[in-house]
């Protein structure tokens, strides 16, 4: 048989054809053969993605604008902001590491959130936008390279490492980044690749 099968997914992990057209809102499907997640139909997925993404961007703005951690010893104090994390490593002669750190903790997550907005705004209002397919192609790939939650563990490990040397205190931006991390994860989790592309296809048909 050589025709496309609407309503079916080929499991991305094992290639099994699975019929998912009967999936109801609130249900999710996993592959019966290998157990890999296939798709989930969620209620108000777009409005969830939009609100989490907007809130996450605000939290990121807080996280880059204020002191992140401060460190004091023997009357001397040094204060660190989030953008300084990659910048200092650049100044010590490791620009490649600086670019990676900046990309994984700030740039890629921010780009993912902006793409989520550009993707879900037109879908939410049922309007066609010329960039919608580009966003749909990139956002699912890009999100694998965001390391927001890994960075938070990194902060905790750093605190333990230097706690004996001096007094360390958490700044407003640290809490901003924790909020950012949670909201980012929620925004990503609310978006389903299969459902989004089904909607893009439907939108394209109705809007020519």
């Amino acid at each position: 048989m050589n025709e496309s099968e609407p309503g079916s997914i080929a499991c991305h992990a094992c290639d099994l054809l699975v019929e998912v057209s009967s999936l109801k809102t609130g249900q999710s499907a996993i592959c019966p053969r290998c157990g890999h997640f296939l798709t989930a139909k969620r209620q108000d997925a777009h409005s969830k993605v939009l609100s989490y993404s907007l809130a996450a961007l605000v939290a990121l703005l807080v996280a880059i604008s204020f002191p992140f951690l401060s460190f004091s010893s023997g009357g001397l104090e040094s204060v660190m902001t989030l953008p300084q994390t990659p910048r200092m490593i650049w100044e010590y002669g490791l620009p490649a590491v600086a670019i990676m750190v900046a990309a994984f903790i700030i740039l890629i997550p921010a780009a993912t959130l902006l793409m989520l907005l550009f993707l879900c705004l037109p879908l939410h209002f049922g309007r066609w936008a010329p960039w919608i397919k580009t966003m749909g192609r990139w956002v699912f790939h890009l999100q694998n390279w965001a390391m927001v939650e890994v960075f938070i563990i990194g902060v905790i490990v750093s605190l333990v490492k230097i706690a004996k040397m001096a007094t360390v205190s958490l700044g407003l931006s640290f809490w901003g980044y924790v909020a950012f991390s949670i909201l980012f994860t929620l925004a990503i989790a609310a978006l389903d690749r299969y459902q989004v592309w089904t909607e893009i296809e439907a939108l394209e048909t109705t809007h020519g």
């Binding site: 099968e5 094992c14 054809l17 990676m100 994984f104 563990i153 905790i156 490990v157 360390v168 592309w197």
Partner: protein, 211 residues
């Protein structure tokens, strides 16, 4: 043996778009829905995966031998390697944190390399052994990958935070560069590996690993 009665997309002459999951007839060059190039399986999956794994093994040597950071305290400099950092944390009495760093920086990267080499070998030798477990091993490897960056982030944070004139300064070492390289290259190797090849062996027909 695992139940293989299910119908795969390949056996129906269908390929799944890697970007938007649309099913199209095998041989279509571009996805009619999203425009991405179409392939039945990841192109040259095993060859590219092995090349990246070897690169990661080479980078792994300086990552462990060179210092990942230097601590300048009152005129004396102390260099510490990844393992040295774990030992220091144990001495400081923070066993849970030492365990996190040991798992993220030592066990995960080396375990990941071994697991990926095994998976490539098992596909090459058309193994029929528990494909479900091997898929799970692959998924776990893929999921754990980015957590190894934690040590690089720790160095970046300490370097940005600790610079108190001549009293106490922390500087990064070149192991940070090669270790970040190991993490990124193994992440790409996991992305390039196509776990559907594990299942193709069950259908037993021609070699699709190059298609």
């Amino acid at each position: 043996m695992v139940d293989t009665h299910g119908v795969t997309a390949r056996s129906r002459g269908l390929a799944s778009c890697h970007a938007c999951l649309k099913l199209v007839p095998v041989g279509t060059h571009h996805c009619p829905r999203c425009g991405s190039p179409m392939h039945l399986r990841e192109v040259d999956s095993l060859q590219r995966c092995v090349a990246l794994l070897i690169t990661a093994c080479i980078l792994y040597i300086p990552a462990n031998l060179l210092p990942i950071m230097y601590t300048d305290q009152l005129g004396s400099t102390e260099a510490s390697t990844i393992i040295g950092g774990v030992v220091l944390l144990i001495k400081l009495g923070s066993i849970p944190i030492a365990a996190i760093i040991f798992i993220a920086s030592v066990m995960v990267p080396s375990g990941k390399l071994i697991a990926m080499f095994y998976l490539v070998w098992s596909v090459r030798s058309k193994s029929q052994l528990s494909p479900r477990q091997r898929t799970l091993l692959y998924r776990t490897t893929e999921f754990m990958g980015k957590w190894s960056m934690v040590d690089v982030f720790v160095v970046a944070i300490l370097v940005a935070l600790v610079h108190l004139g001549g009293l106490l300064v922390i500087r990064p070492g070149y192991a940070a560069l090669s270790f970040a390289g190991v993490v990124i290259v193994t992440m790409i190797a996991a992305e390039v590996f196509d776990s559907r090849l594990i299942w193709d062996a069950l259908e037993g027909d021609s070699d699709y690993s190059k298609t």
